[in-house]
């Protein structure tokens, strides 16, 4: 680097480590050379008040580094932003005021790996309406050198060079960098993971929530003794595991007999001997995806996003994985559904890591920010790509595997044509059933409405009930669901019935009431998953933001009925078999969903 030290801005140093020494074990050895620096929080964003470590030993160059882009001194007034890139990670600051001394105080977490990249490139851009982002200056900092140098200050000033000539200095930038305390990393991971498996959101893990977590870690030995582990974790014996208790269990247990053998998010097998790397991997994966993708200050572009991670945004994730089995990476989880026919509760298997990924992404502000910044387009492009693939002749070879995977849930005897008739996977996907395979209740009575799809159903007398028990998206409304072209006044405070189709289901939908099809309205939109995890998220508004087709059926017995077919990730193609003005009888085929965007 090209740095020169300055006096520290209100930094206090602690002369001894306040935590017990064994807490600083990393990879089975102590860190004799670590010194902790406590910063005061200034209220201006500089210094978070958390404890950080400065490294003086190159061997320890692994963990999560906290890099703060503090401020710069430039040679002219403008609006400024700075970017930092290290390896595949890139972050940016907010845009400053119009000034020659921009202040960002932007703290970013970077993953530092042994033998990984350690030179950070910092670029400063001027930005205005005319020139957009114009690179003015840059510098390169060897973080290893920065962190191992013994300095009085925990921040440094670096000269910024003109991109066209490294002889010309165009300004200066102040930067600080420290390594996050491994204990803090572990605690922050415990906090994060607890918030994801804490289904009732009480800040503690019940035994069932704890069991889900242990299963998701993919360690069969640990899964078999989860009662024992729960008892060990629940130190105060109050029957629940708190965040601190979970953090302790993870740190102690991981040392003697690793609990976590697979990442619950990406399914990757973790190197059990490298405990810090495990925690770093998990923290980053939970926060930001697989670690293969590049984050740019909280936004994600389609070039940067990892296909694999995005795929896990939907229940279709295991469609790609059925050939390796649901239990790959972590144990299968389940969703409970009440089977109306058998009057029993049934478990529907869904991969635990997918459940967790979806919770992480759809039920957190961070996750939804990711989706907001570019991944929406990616979901559509993945779906379009999948549509092309499933319409190709080669896709027909996937049919037997799919049938085998869902053998308990697909009844081939009721399918109208034999499997060999389907020339593509999509043809099979929109398979017709034999006449009479789905008896229509009270066929002769038009005052009895029937179910519109083989599905998981939720029904509510009014919108308030639907919001209380199911749809948590803050922006949900009838007008939002039906779109601008249809007057919602007819349906205000109406009853709502939701039919959710799962991958293995018969994907044709039928008319629930007899009448006349008045109109169809296409409403363009996104292709979020329609899984309950997303529907139950207060941050996500799948029903009012997803692509959909709204049709209005005029009936003698029920007045007008709005029928909304909503596309989802992978299955975004909606086809209707009736047209405006057609008379329809309840139970008639109305249309189908297929692979595509």
């Amino acid at each position: 680097g090209h740095g020169s030290s300055k006096s520290p801005p209100e930094v206090e140093e602690e002369s001894h480590l306040s935590r017990p020494k064994q807490k600083l074990h990393i990879h089975g050895h102590q860190h004799p050379h670590l010194r902790r620096i406590f910063r005061r929080s200034h209220g201006n964003g500089y210094g978070s008040g958390t404890s950080c470590l400065k490294l003086v030993n190159a061997e320890d160059f692994a963990g999560i580094a906290l890099l703060t882009l503090i401020s710069a001194e430039m040679k002219f007034k403008d609006k400024w932003l700075a970017c930092v890139s290290i390896g595949e990670q890139t972050f940016r600051t907010e845009i400053s005021d119009h000034t020659e001394k921009p202040v960002w105080n932007s703290e970013k977490k970077l993953i530092l790996e042994r033998n990984g990249p350690h030179v950070a490139r910092i670029s400063v851009f001027e930005t205005n309406r005319i020139s957009k982002n114009n690179l003015i200056g840059y510098c390169e900092i060897d973080l290893l050198e920065f962190l191992t140098r013994d300095l009085d200050s925990d921040f440094e000033v670096f000269e910024l060079f003109d991109p066209s000539s490294s002889d010309i200095i165009v300004g200066k930038i102040s930067i600080s960098c420290s390594v996050e305390d491994p204990i803090e990393t572990e605690k922050s991971f415990a906090r994060r993971i607890l918030s994801i498996v804490d289904y009732n959101e009480d800040g503690q893990l019940s035994f069932s929530e704890f069991s889900e977590l242990i299963k998701a870690f993919g360690n069969q030995v640990a899964a078999n003794k989860k009662e024992e582990l729960f008892k060990a974790a629940d130190k105060n014996g109050d029957g629940v595991v708190s965040m601190d208790e979970l953090a302790d269990l993870l740190s102690i247990q991981q040392e003697k007999e690793p609990l976590i053998t697979h990442c619950p998010v990406c399914g990757e097998i973790l190197e059990v001997s490298d405990r810090l790397s495990t925690v770093v991997h998990l923290s980053i994966c939970f926060d930001e995806g697989t670690g293969n993708q590049i984050m740019t200050g909280g936004f994600l572009t389609d070039k940067q996003a990892s296909y694999g991670w995005m795929f896990k945004l939907s229940e279709w994730a295991h469609f790609s994985a059925y050939d390796v089995g649901l239990n790959f990476g972590s144990s299968a989880s389940h969703i409970l559904v009440f089977d109306r026919r058998t009057k029993r509760l049934v478990e529907e298997l869904i991969d635990g890591k997918i459940v967790m990924s979806m919770r992480a992404i759809y039920q957190s502000k961070i996750g939804l920010q990711l989706i907001d910044k570019g991944a929406k387009e990616l979901l559509i492009s993945i779906s379009e790509k999948q549509g092309r693939k499933m319409n190709a002749a080669e896709s027909a070879k996937d049919i037997p595997q799919f049938v085998e995977f869902f053998k308990d849930q697909i009844n081939l005897a009721e399918v109208k044509y034999p499997l060999e008739n389907f020339k593509t996977f999509n043809e099979f996907f929109i398979r017709e059933l034999k006449p009479g395979a789905r008896p229509i209740a009270f066929m002769e009575r038009d005052d009895v409405a029937v179910c519109a799809a083989d599905s998981r159903l939720m029904a509510f007398k009014n919108i308030e009930d639907s919001l209380r028990f199911w749809i948590k998206g803050k922006k949900f409304s009838i007008q939002g669901l039906l779109g601008k072209e249809i007057s919602s006044s007819t349906f205000v405070d109406g009853s709502l019935v939701i039919f959710r189709l799962a991958p293995q289901d018969y994907h044709r939908f039928h008319v629930p009431v007899s009448g006349t099809v008045e109109q169809f309205v296409n409403v363009p939109g996104n292709l979020y998953t329609v899984n309950p995890i997303a529907v139950n998220s207060e941050y996500c508004n799948v029903f009012t933001e997803n692509k959909r087709v709204v049709s209005i059926i005029s009936t003698a017995e029920f007045g007008k009925v709005a029928f909304v077919a909503i596309g989802a990730t992978m299955v975004g193609s909606i086809t209707f078999l009736k047209k405006e003005g057609d008379s329809v009888k309840k139970g008639d085929e109305f249309g189908y969903f297929s692979f595509g965007g």
Partner: protein, 57 residues
């Protein structure tokens, strides 16, 4: 993918078992053609007693 049907206020009397499960945030597995509910009688019909069911005492 999902289908949502919206009925006008008071137009349908949805089957009780479906409402009960939903009020427990529990989805019900159904098939095409299963009964969903019955058209609610007009308000005047609801307000007036059904004379056929009345008994003189």
């Amino acid at each position: 993918s999902t289908v949502i049907c919206v009925f006008e206020k008071g137009a349908i009397q949805i089957d009780e078992d479906l409402l009960v499960n939903s009020a427990r945030s529990l989805e019900t597995l159904v098939s095409v053609g299963m009964k969903l509910g019955v058209a609610a009688r007009k308000q005047s019909e609801i307000d007036l007693p059904n004379l056929k069911n009345c008994v003189l005492e």
